[in-house]
């Protein structure tokens, strides 16, 4: 990049690079469809992710109907049930949460929050979305191919994933693996953009330690994804070769339907290692952006600076690093050397330390804050409770001796839904209620929003709290029908029915949310540029919604961190990051 002449303003270092050259759209197509503007790409990512997420929501209804009222619905057979759980899990984890946090929130917030005009390579960023869309379409197409989608479970464990015992053996599994490979290619193009934008395209005065924690969360998650998705890529390619060419990477010698298969000599455990080397970081890929968003929501809506900002940053980085050496805690029942179990249990429990730092710091941020119970704040508080809840059951499952009896029971289902299903989706909702005014210029409807929050929050607990109890009773997961089982009392079946009704109600509340998104776009209250009185840069744009290039003629200059709320002596209870220090009183802003 070319060096530019500079002026030194109030101790802020001079600009190191020249102005970026943006692609200026010439038609409706390049402005709204094949757009190279990160904000448009973010909205495209979000809408696509939510659309495919609605499919997964409907699948969860069908599963709950079957579990709650077994035998009542003749259109759900055992094979379909397996297909539903597989597609529900895969869509929710990868195509909804990962895409929404990184492609949606990441694309919208990173350039605005670090003071950039756009992502560093807008064209590659655009390609990222279109490859993602293709991956989603390939995935969705499996519902319509002969044999339907794969029913291998979201973990796709071989050998059963590609044998005829699993539904979707013909087309479903092949298209699922192809879709995953496409998703990883698309994500890599976007992810490289997010990382380079954060590292190399910040505005003057924006040091890494002044970035809002949302950017830290998304940035760290993206780095992790760039290092973890390769393992899934390799596993998908090898499984695809096993299925299509008859190689035996993962397939041992085995008998299928009374006949010896063509396979021999492969290792199913190898797939599990590759899958979970991706799969465990994936948990934090959806958790870290949620951590970041929640930190910003709590600080803004409690009008108080985040407690222990530096510790929060280092906790994010530590969690990201540790998550690469814990993967085999998903494989305690697969069989491993006891010392390995000891190692992985230890590293797993160590993660509790940085995570606990984050939870304490959120609570200490709230402590004696000026708490506004706005909708984003309600979701943030719900997130903390839910995350603590799911995290504590994680400590149970991280221990080998406790995990072995609880493995493959509903307890595990309850645990991971709490910690990486409900908790991140609450952060998504909080984030949407918080940033929707910036994206559209209008507020979301308050009454519908509060209705959505309470039904979702209480409803989710009605579904997943009793599930822990079912798991402790020994009710297995992935079973289409429990039938007459002596150790499961009749009351457990009543509980299942109750949970199913709750799940249906929670699902319908999401339709209210979708309606709110569309209705408020046209009829919502005008928001203005900074409705929450927030400090970070995205609220200081000259236009709302921000225009092409984000900042008008001049890039903002950053003088302070993103958490100057309720500064003593300041004129307002927040000081935007780009407000020069001279305008403050003698006491000044701290830090």
């Amino acid at each position: 990049m070319v060096d530019v002449p500079f002026d030194t303003v109030a101790g802020v270092p001079p600009a190191e690079v020249g102005e970026v050259e943006l692609y200026h759209p010439k038609s409706w197509w390049t402005r709204y469809v094949f757009s190279q503007d990160a904000k448009v790409i973010a909205v495209q990512y979000s809408i696509t992710a939510m659309a495919i997420g609605m499919v997964a929501l409907v699948l969860s209804w069908l599963m709950r109907l079957q579990l709650g009222f077994p035998g009542t619905f003749s259109f759900i057979d055992a094979n379909q049930y397996l297909q539903f759980i597989t597609m529900h899990g895969m869509i929710m984890v990868i195509y909804l949460l990962t895409a929404l946090f990184l492609g949606g929130f990441g694309n919208y917030l990173i350039p605005l929050m670090v003071g950039a005009r756009d992502m560093v390579f807008p064209y590659v960023n655009m390609l990222s979305y279109w490859v993602y869309l293709l991956a989603v379409l390939v995935l969705a197409s499996t519902f319509f191919v002969p044999g339907g989608p794969t029913g291998a479970g979201w973990t796709l464990y071989p050998p059963q994933a590609i044998l005829s015992g699993s539904p979707g053996q013909d087309w479903g599994i092949i298209l699922m693996l192809a879709s995953l490979i496409l998703f990883i290619i698309g994500f890599t193009m976007g992810g490289l953009n997010y990382v380079v934008t954060v590292l190399q395209a910040r505005t003057r005065g924006m040091t890494l330690m002044r970035m809002p924690l949302t950017v830290w969360g998304i940035f760290t998650a993206t780095v992790m994804a760039l290092l973890a998705f390769p393992a899934l890529f390799v596993a998908s390619v090898m499984l695809l070769l096993d299925r299509l060419l008859g190689t035996s990477f993962f397939m041992p010698t085995l008998v299928e339907m009374g006949e010896l298969t063509k396979y021999g000599g492969g290792s199913p455990i190898l797939f599990q290692h590759l899958f979970w080397f991706f799969g465990h970081p994936e948990v934090y890929i959806v958790a870290l952006p949620a951590f970041g968003i929640i930190s910003d929501l709590i600080s803004t809506h409690a009008r108080k600076n985040i407690f222990g900002y530096r510790m929060m940053v280092w906790a994010i980085v530590a969690i990201g690093a540790l998550s690469f050496i814990v993967w085999a805690h998903h494989m305690y029942v697969s069989g491993m050397h006891p010392y390995f179990g000891f190692f992985f249990a230890t590293t797993t429990l160590i993660i509790a330390i940085p995570t606990a730092i984050k939870v304490y710091n959120w609570v200490l941020t709230l402590w004696r804050g000026d708490i506004h119970l706005t909708i984003p704040m309600l979701f943030a508080l719900a997130f903390i409770i839910t995350f603590v809840n799911g995290g504590l059951t994680g400590l149970f499952l991280g221990n080998v001796v406790v995990d072995v009896p609880l493995s493959d029971t509903m307890f595990v289902v309850a645990h991971f839904h709490m910690v990486m299903g409900i908790a991140p989706i609450l952060a998504v909702f909080g984030g949407i209620y918080h940033w929707y005014p910036k994206v559209t210029g209008r507020m979301l409807n308050e009454v519908l929003g509060r209705f959505h929050f309470w039904v979702t929050f209480l409803g989710a607990y009605a579904v997943f709290f009793p599930m822990h109890y079912l798991g402790l009773l020994g009710m297995p997961r992935r079973y289409h029908d429990i039938g007459e089982t002596s150790f499961i009392p009749a009351s457990a079946h009543d509980l299942n029915a109750f949970m199913s009704v709750a799940a249906l109600i929670v699902g319908f509340a999401q339709l209210v949310f979708i309606f709110n998104l569309i209705w408020s776009l046209f009829k919502g209250k005008e928001a203005g540029g900074n409705p929450w009185g927030a400090t970070s840069l995205e609220w200081q744009t000259p236009e709302t919604p921000p225009g092409h290039g984000n900042w008008g003629k001049e890039l903002p200059i950053v003088y302070r961190w993103a958490y100057d709320y309720s500064v003593p002596g300041a004129a307002r209870d927040f000081v935007p990051q780009n407000e020069p220090p001279t305008r403050l009183s003698a006491q000044g802003a701290h830090p």
């Binding site: 101790g11 270092p13 490289l192 990382v195 390769p230 990477f249 190898l270 000044g588």
Partner: protein, 240 residues
Amino acid sequence: MAEAALTNIGASPARLSGWRGIAADWSSDQRAFKNVSWGKAMMWIFLLSDTFIFSCFLLSYMTARMSTTVPWPNPSEVFALNIGGAHIPLILIAIMTFILISSSGTMAMAVNFGYRRDRVRTAALMLATAAFGATFVGMQAFEWTKLIIEGVRPWGNPWGAPQFGASFFMITGFHGTHVTIGVIFLIAIARKVWRGDFDVERRGFFTSRKGYYEIVEITGLYWHFVDLVWVFIFALFYLW
């Protein structure tokens, strides 16, 4: 983050050396890697991600090779050629390796001439690199053909563990794809150099951005990476 620190940053433009310099760069604003352009940073991070892909492939292959109960075919024998009556082990692989390493040399020279804005020599050396790369892929195609004629398939081979063929075709195929993409990339950039796009600052067709001679170095990073990966494949697949 205190205001005192804020003025200090502007007051000391001198760069520190060693770890202090790294710490100063990472705690500064705008860029963590000073004097590294966006394109170069992006290529480095992509290569880091790609390293994980090749590592996973190679680790999976080594797991298969170590855990198989059937004998593994001897690579020295499998990859031997009869030339002029002499039976020479690994000769084709040795020549392929020599060619690919040589292409790294021409690539480095192209980068050098690129920064001197020597349009003709840069383009010629990049095309030479692409020709070496294409030769490599051609020899790989010959090697594949030879093995297929001898009966090696992804699902089995006449000499031992079926994972031999599976790993061989997968790993060399994935690496060969990388080389092929590199050849296309080299030819495309060489054309731009030849046409003088980076002298007249012509804008890209899709991105409408100006290009710089630095793209030659970025292409070189990718090319050297692909060569380096081959060294690991050579050591771990053929020499083991």
